[in-house]
Symmetry: C2
Subunit: 141 residues, 2 copies
DNA sequence: TCGTGATTAATGCGTTTGCATCTACCCTAA
DNA sequence: TTAGGGTAGATGCAAACGCATTAATCACGA
């Protein structure tokens, strides 16, 4: 077993353990964690986001994301507008209600995250962010 | 945004990007990535594994895991035996065919992993493993 | 011994997912 | 201008998922 494989396994394990822990917390209200993730990704970019761009950051297949956006639009949390420059495309953005919901859930969730990662030193947090950032950068081989 | 939150987001992003990348590789044959994960977890422990223990390491709800094991048993890859010490429990282990399948898929997948993580130095790999290991250790708050 | 609460895994059921496919649109080159 | 290949996102459908609940067993104290 190489070092790379051990590192990946350890990363997966941390992701699984922490995700389960966060999911068990009682902060999600009317959303699932996956739905929150979509709202969060949209909240980060001020401008509207393309479906395909959003799909790159979310762990869902393209059809699953398409339908999840359907539901979020129906619930009044997300807006789906045609892209003026590309009539195939779609521009997604949060509605005010969507932004409120994201914030209301994001606050306590951020506290959970901070608590779970409080076992790390500030240096380790920086190292973790730097290393994982490097990993997601070279998206294509 | 605290350092902890940035680190967690970066970790999530790396997990999403790499998972999608691995999933797109043509190495999974008759298994899904989630099914492979179950076989892999079983392959790591030589002794039989309890359902609840396995569920701790896999990103699936308890009922979903129960039914996935059903399918894997039906396909002859996993054995489900009663636990002699606790008649509520179940002991899971790989069949020879399950072990073969895990190895056949694990080899090329391990190469994909090594390639994807080759952007990191050996020191970074060690740091990543150490830090994520620390994260999954304090499983309970 | 018995009863109460906790734990383990399975099942009913409505919802969500992924795969394959489809439609609509973009883009380049002949 | 138009044909052909590529890309964006939606849809049909079977499979898989999560939530809530159940059945069976354990464990401990009265």
């Amino acid at each position: 077993m190489t070092r790379a494989n051990e590192a990946w396994e350890s990363l997966m394990r941390a992701y699984a353990v922490l995700t389960k822990q966060f999911n068990a917390e009682d902060v999600w209200g009317e959303l699932t964690m996956r739905e929150y993730d979509v709202l969060y990704q949209l909240s980060k970019c001020d401008g509207p986001l393309r479906m395909s761009e959003l799909n790159r950051h979310v762990l869902l297949s393209q059809p699953a994301l398409s339908r999840m956006v359907d539901r979020l639009v129906e619930r009044g949390l997300v807006r789906r507008c045609p892209d003026p420059g590309d009539r195939r495309g779609v521009r997604l953005s949060l509605t005010p209600a969507g932004r409120d919901t994201q914030r209301a859930i994001g606050r306590p969730h951020a506290r959970s995250v901070a608590r779970a990662l409080s076992v790390l030193t500030p240096e380790e947090l920086d190292q973790l962010a730097a290393i994982t950032g490097k990993l997601s950068q070279n998206e294509e081989q």
